[in-house]
Subunit: 236 residues, 2 copies
């Protein structure tokens, strides 16, 4: 059975199979070695995520995934006094919820790598240009400062749980044109952002032993099949 | 449990999660409704495919996939006297092998939709420009005429099995610039080819009842969550 890597998160995970998306790139990268299973739920914060853990990861007798990415915070960090306030989750509760998600997954599958991913940075001008509902206030519903606080909290919880983490908030801002190259509407990922998430996830998974070099390949590769006796490869 | 759609085939299936690939597009289309499971094996013909059916679709107690695409023929139709002769499978055996794959899958999962996809057309000039090994003969290892014969055979077997089929060989050639817009090296799919496979597969699956309209959505959609009482959506 081919192992699985599950992607659990919000819209940035749900949309990860759109053109050039980081989920599709992972599926392409792990071709013949791992199945990529998407469990992205647009708009969800960690409070709602905790409520649905049993349904997202049902207790059936399935093989443990080799890894699960946990990519929340973009909705939790909505400001409490702007139009998306109903998605807001206070910082301390966000940390508690991440701990609960980690504990749930580790209890279900002891050996599975849990990889946290922090929320990406926010381009506030982009958010004002592309509001999700009418926004006469002239104020963005998300700020980069708030996203940064949630990103730091996510890194802190990962350290506490001794589990790997990709700090997208910091990583993306290393690129001078991140607002345009990484983001499409001030929040969701453009081509550049998708590439960074893909590359960072592959790198981090490799550090913890989930890599093309270590995963077995499903069935003989074409390059291993002897043109003079192809069926010999299929004898076992 | 979210239902699955399996993609079984050769490199055109294995590579279907590369940028703009038809597999990734299916995963994006069936977001929140079905998991797309890739079982593409680069270079494989139906003779080799038949040998590995038990490994590709192991007899574990898993839920039946809602659909399996069977997309072979691009390698079977390699000419028997050119450099890729070891991949060639005679036309009658190709038909028998497709019947065996169909019977195997129907025996395993009676209700699963088996969707055949014919090999795409071949641009012989493209094949000569991009040979997979040194090819001093000056002759292409695949021809459009041969691909057409295998496509017709695939359609015939589908009719005989009373199972749906997408005739990519015919469909792509409806576009006047198919050699450039649909193919990248005379055989594999460029952006246009990927889009056609995606659109035709979605259309054909819809005709047999596998569609966004009929598949249940996994967990409440953001648009269904009441901003005034979000947790109410998660009570059950």
């Amino acid at each position: 059975m081919r192992p699985k890597i599950c992607l659990f998160g919000d819209s940035i995970t749900e949309e990860s199979f759109s053109n050039g998306g980081w989920g599709a790139s992972l599926a392409n990268h792990f071709s013949r070695t791992a199945d990529i299973v998407v469990r992205g739920y647009s708009g969800y914060n960690t409070r709602w995520a905790v409520k649905v853990l049993d349904k997202v990861f049902p207790a059936v007798d399935e093989a443990a995934p080799v890894a699960v990415t946990v990519f929340f915070g973009a909705n939790d960090s909505c400001l409490h006094d702007r139009y998306a306030a109903f998605q807001h989750v206070p910082l301390d509760e966000y940390k508690d919820n991440l701990r609960s998600i980690f504990t749930f997954l580790k209890k279900r599958w002891e050996t599975t790598v849990i990889l946290f991913i922090t929320p990406p940075p926010i381009d506030e001008a982009g958010r004002l240009m592309h509001p999700y509902i009418e926004n006469p206030s002239g104020l963005p519903e998300r700020t980069n400062e708030a996203a940064g606080a949630y990103a730091k909290a996510c890194v802190d919880v990962a350290r506490e749980c001794e589990t790997p983490v990709v700090d997208m908030w910091t990583k993306m801002q290393e690129f001078s044109d991140w607002k345009n190259s990484c983001l499409s509407d001030g929040l969701h990922l453009a081509q550049g952002g998708n590439r960074i998430v893909f590359e960072e996830v592959v790198k981090k998974l490799k550090e913890v032993g989930v890599s093309l070099e270590l995963l077995p390949v499903d069935l003989p590769l074409f390059s291993e099949i002897n043109p003079k006796d192809p069926l010999k490869s299929f004898e076992n």
